[in-house]
Amino acid sequence: MSGNFPWLTVLAAVPFAGALLVAAVPAGKRALAKNVALLVTLVELALAIAVTVKFSPNGDRFQLTENHTWIKQFGVHWALGVDGIGVVLILLTAVLMPVLVLASWNDADAPQVRMDGTVGDTAAPRSTHAFFALMLAVEAMVVVSFAATDIFVFYVFFEAMLIPMYFLIGGFGGAQRSYAAVKFLLYNLLGGLVMLAAVVALYVATADADLGGAGQGTFDLMRITQAVGTGELNLNPTAEKAMFLGFMFAFAVKAPLWPFHTWLPDTMTEATPGIAVLVTAMVDKVGTFAMLRYCLALFPNASKTFAPLVVTLAIIGIIYGALLAVGQTDIKRLIAYTSISHFGFIIVGIFALTSQGQSGATLYMVNHGFSTAALLLVAGFLISRRGSKTIADFGGVQKVAPLLAGTFLVAGLATLSLPGLAPFVSEFLVLVGTFSRYQAAGIVATFGIILAALYVLVLYQRTMTGPVKAGVEKIRDLNVRELVVVAPLIALLLVLGVYPKPVLDVVNPAVDDTLSQVEKTDPAPSHPIEQVAAVTPLGGNK
């Protein structure tokens, strides 16, 4: 229990206050609004780094915890606390936000693209203030979702996120943005409602087991997981399965698991590049994070029974997403399908129920955030220069804008998880984790890396190489702002690829704790080799 300074509440309040501040900026001053937004995100980044520094990896599971009663009748507490996984993802959010604000610096100033594709009049560009205020609001809600240790608080912000996202997608996207926004909202709301039923059922179950004292139920995650562990709260199997499915459905829709994924391509194609990254790099991560934090911890038996099913769906997602990415003609839609494939990897890692798998999955969430952000933002620069999203309109950009092509290639290589870059480490861990539990699934998933190479290289070849196509010759190279956006992402991809140890050290204890919750241990090697070699290869911690 750290000192009394409410780190996490402040961490959540800063972007929220920032959002209000940006909204309050007088209408005319666009530049001021943008700068304020950037400043707020940088302050948030500093806070996040401070939180990470304060978090001691081998301390107890949840640190910097806070607990104030919020709604007495239900026994709902404004309980925040962060574990290894939470702190890493909050850091991801805090790092990505300034990059996104910079990247979509004048996305909101461009005139409105009407439904039939014609461009609105430049005299009435959309409101920049609303754009950045909503982005900050989303950041605040994402941070709370990562930091919540009270299921009710988590659920409220898990759902609240949809509203600003709806306006961001619907207000500032391409021609079909309203269709995409409505589809996004309906899909996720449906998921949320199913989850609401499960949350209520859980509360009732805790009330029966009198966890909250005086016949009251509780929403406190730690209390419930402890009760599940000690058998104080043993739900009958069918109820547990039903509740698991309720939670799982909402998270499967949020982090697109295969059959529920059709909203992502539309959203990412229509939204502006910055918002598309916001969706896939941060908002969707809440889904996978929640699978790890809530599905496994609260319903261990149901997780074990449903694990094979989820693994199969995820594997299908990997291959399906990759194959569809190869078949796309629109750049952003292609990147959307790559994200579906990557989310397949994350989910297979989580539900392989091995420490390598889950650590790999958590690291994957972080790496995917950076690699997709880099790829999408560079693609966004490319698209905004040429004004068209279809791949066929590009060709030979490498000759005209070598720097842009170079960063696009590096981002592409990160997406196909080239060793030496960050995604390789997490992908390999996920694959090893899956292979050690389900051999067949492991091998099929490994085919995903070949398809990954296919769709990235096909995209790179069609847009960048070959003779300079008409209309491409006027594309100018990256300007300073865009470089400042891409440089940190690529640097992080390199550093995390070469030295991911600090992140893994933070994540491992949380993962081991989750696995012990689910009573699953890694399958021991069949023919271990007694340590013959004199040299124990590894110094470091075992």
Binding site: G466, H527, G539, G540
Partner: protein, 666 residues
């Protein structure tokens, strides 16, 4: 910095001397501390040149070459330190930092230097430096020469990382790094669509191989719980035969992917799109031999499953013949040499598959091949340089008068590769043929005869290349059919000094290397502690085998002489028998690949795109439409006539009354 990184625990292991199979390493001390420098220098070069941008254009190529040569000298220093180290201390392990550690999955970034990797380090840095020097001249007038040298350095760094890694995961990093470098270098002239496609094809095929390596590592992890050389190759790894075979086959798949062996060999021919120094360095001397290194390094695993080794020899044999046949029909000089590379690597893979008998000879042939094949490629490069990038041999002819040095160095390389007695090719290839026979049993005879036939074919196509290029009528004087209007007759000239110097050095290597290695078996003794060595009883005496080999070579050369020296070489390729047509099309390998993989893949993709759009999205849209439809139909019930509403009201009352009566009745 090196001192601190060395892991604390040390304690030398008293190796059981010669016979002890398996790998026992001591922590790196003294000179060996500088092992990581070998990789760091080219990596630094690549980073500086890539990030430097235009500012480094002026001195970019010199910096690249300097770092390559520097790395070579560090290699030499290491080699000399290893020479005077005792046998046991030659296998050195340097731990740099912990890379990934999750539960029992421990991966470190550590280097392992022993006799085998020493050979490779020297070969890579040596030939690499020569090719850097050659490239200064060759890439003289290419505007992004700096980027070329950056990629070359990147290639050197990843190849060295591959051969120096001390666990399979780090080897995998080097493995893919080399794949990336070859992708960048093949596709260097990106404005040419054919180069871009070739680069993508190469990378994808390598990726298929990498799948094998990844699965092999998974198997190792699930079976042994670790994948570092110290444990896995320490000789006391026990597992079921099936697991070993599984791991070995996966490793073989990886080797095939990288070394362009039988199932995955289609990319090597197209890789010739890249500049010639690239072909010389990557697709002749170093990268393509990575597969052989992998198999030789994992000797412990392969020895544990004989049938896996049999598969390796079969793959090697098929590729030997495949490459030779294709080589005979190619008119493009670089494609002919590429086919010959494929065939020669087939030899090495075959030798490596023979087990302890062949490991040493495979590596010996690998080194000698590195010399003469690089020499041949550089020779071809200087010929193209002179004939303003004309690659079709039917446009050459009688160039010996115009390029004497190239003619001599190319000639020496030619003699070496066909196995002309006393040259390096003769020694290393004969040993392989001998080892093939020495395998014993029917497979011994089959493999032996295959290698003999291949030797003959090699002589045939190399002589053909030699004659068509340097002898015969000067066909490049008259304009080729359908030449562009501004065609002017090329005037061949000798290449500048910076290009011919490396060719001369390589020529020396290809002449004397063989003899040096065979001199009281110095090379075999050098490698035995790592790979082990056993004589094997060959049905023929050593001299009989050599005799047969030389006879086959002479026969091949004679046939080529008859066909290409005596008769006039037509300027336009004749139709030729069905074999030549097939060979021209690389025995329809591309057709097979497209038919088996590409086309079904495209159909599947198109079907899935349709499914996603119509199927899943269709279902969701359908749901919405269904609800809309039913509501519009139910709406029609409200007809607007007061009397129909009255009827429904009255009907309702009747039902209520009936219900109450029913309730009262019951």
């Amino acid at each position: 910095m090196t001192q601190t990184l060395v892991s604390a625990a040390s304690g030398a292991l008293l190796a059981t001397g010669e016979g002890g199979p398996g790998l026992h390493s001591v922590p790196a001390t003294g000179v060996f501390d500088a092992t990581w420098l070998v990789i760091a220098l080219p990596l630094l070069g690549a980073a500086v040149l890539l990030l430097g941008g235009r500012r480094t254009n002026r001195f970019g190529h010199w910096l690249g070459t300097l770092l390559a040569v520097g790395s070579f000298f560090v290699g030499l220093a290491l080699f000399s330190a290893m020479l005077d180290a005792s046998d046991a201390d030659r296998s050195v392990n340097q731990h740099l930092w912990d890379w990934v550690s999750v539960g029992s999955f421990q991966a470190e970034v550590g280097l392992h230097l022993d006799q085998l990797s020493m050979v490779f380090v020297l070969l890579i840095t040596g030939v690499g430096s020569l090719i850097h020097i050659y490239s200064i001249g060759y890439m003289e007038h290419d505007e992004n020469r700096r980027r070329f040298f950056a990629y070359l350095n990147l290639f050197l760094a990843s190849m060295l990382l591959l051969v120096l890694a001390n666990n399979y995961l780090l080897l995998y990093v080097g493995w893919e790094g080399v794949g990336l470098a070859s992708y960048l270098l093949i596709g260097f002239w990106q404005h040419k669509p054919s180069a871009a496609t070739a680069a993508k094809k190469a990378f994808l095929m390598n990726r298929v191989g990498d799948l094998g390596l990844a699965v092999a590592i998974f198997l190792m992890f699930t079976t042994f719980g670790t994948f570092s050389f110290d444990q896995v190759l320490s000789g006391n790894a026990q597992a079921s035969g099936g697991t070993f075979t599984g791991i070995d086959l996966m490793l073989l798949l990886a080797a095939c992917g990288k070394s362009a062996q039988f199932p995955l060999q289609a990319w090597l021919g197209d890789a010739m799109e890249g500049p010639t120094p690239v072909s010389a360095l990557i697709h002749a001397a170093t990268m393509v031999t990575a597969g052989v290194y992998l198999i030789t390094r994992s000797a412990e695993l392969f020895n544990a499953s004989p049938d896996a080794q049999l598969v390796v020899t079969i793959v090697g044999a098929i590729t030997v013949l495949f490459g030779a046949i294709v080589g005979c029909a190619k008119d493009d000089i670089k494609k002919a040499l590429a086919a010959s590379t494929m065939s020669q690597i087939g030899y090495m893979i075959l030798a490596a598959g023979l087990g302890p008998i062949g490991y040493a000879f495979a590596i010996m042939h690998l080194v000698t091949h590195g010399f003469f094949k690089a020499g041949l490629f550089l020779g071809a490069g200087s010929v193209m340089h002179g004939m303003n990038d004309e690659v079709d041999m039917r446009r050459y002819g009688g160039l010996r008068k115009y390029m004497p040095i190239t003619f001599v160095t190319f000639g020496l390389g030619y003699l070496a590769i066909i196995g002309f007695p006393l040259l390096s090719g003769y020694f290393s290839k004969d040993k392989i043929i001998e080892a093939a026979f020495a395998k014993g049993g029917t497979s011994g005879y089959v493999l032996g005869s295959v290698t003999l036939v291949a030797a003959g074919l090699t002589a045939y196509y190399m002589t053909r290349v030699m004659l068509m290029t340097f002898f015969g009528r000067e066909r490049w004087k008259e304009a080729p059919v359908g030449a562009p209007a501004d065609w002017h007759e090329p005037h061949p000239h000798e290449s500048p000094k910076s290009m011919t110097l490396p060719m001369i050095v390589l020529a020396f290597g290809s002449v004397f290397a063989g003899g040096l290695f065979v001199l009281h078996d110095s090379f075999v003794n050098w490698l035995t502690p790592v790979t082990g060595f056993s004589e094997g009883d060959s049905p023929f005496s050593e001299y009989a085998v050599t005799g047969m080999a030389v006879a086959m070579v002479a026969l091949g050369a004679l046939v080529a002489y008859v066909q290409y020296a005596r008769r006039e070489v037509p300027a336009v390729a004749p139709q030729g028998s069905f074999i030549t047509v097939a060979a021209r099309k690389d025995l329809y390998q591309d057709a097979v690949n497209e038919g088996l993989v590409m086309r079904p893949g495209q159909y599947l993709t198109r079907m899935l795109v349709w499914l996603d759009l119509r199927g899943i999205d269709g279902f969701v849209g359908g749901l919405a439409a269904f609800i809309g439809g039913t509501s519009s139909r139910v709406r029609k019930v409200q007809t607007g006539f007061a009397r129909s509403y009255a009827l429904s009201m009255f009907g309702g009352t009747a039902l209520v009354v009936a219900a109450t009566l029913m309730a009262r009745m019951a």
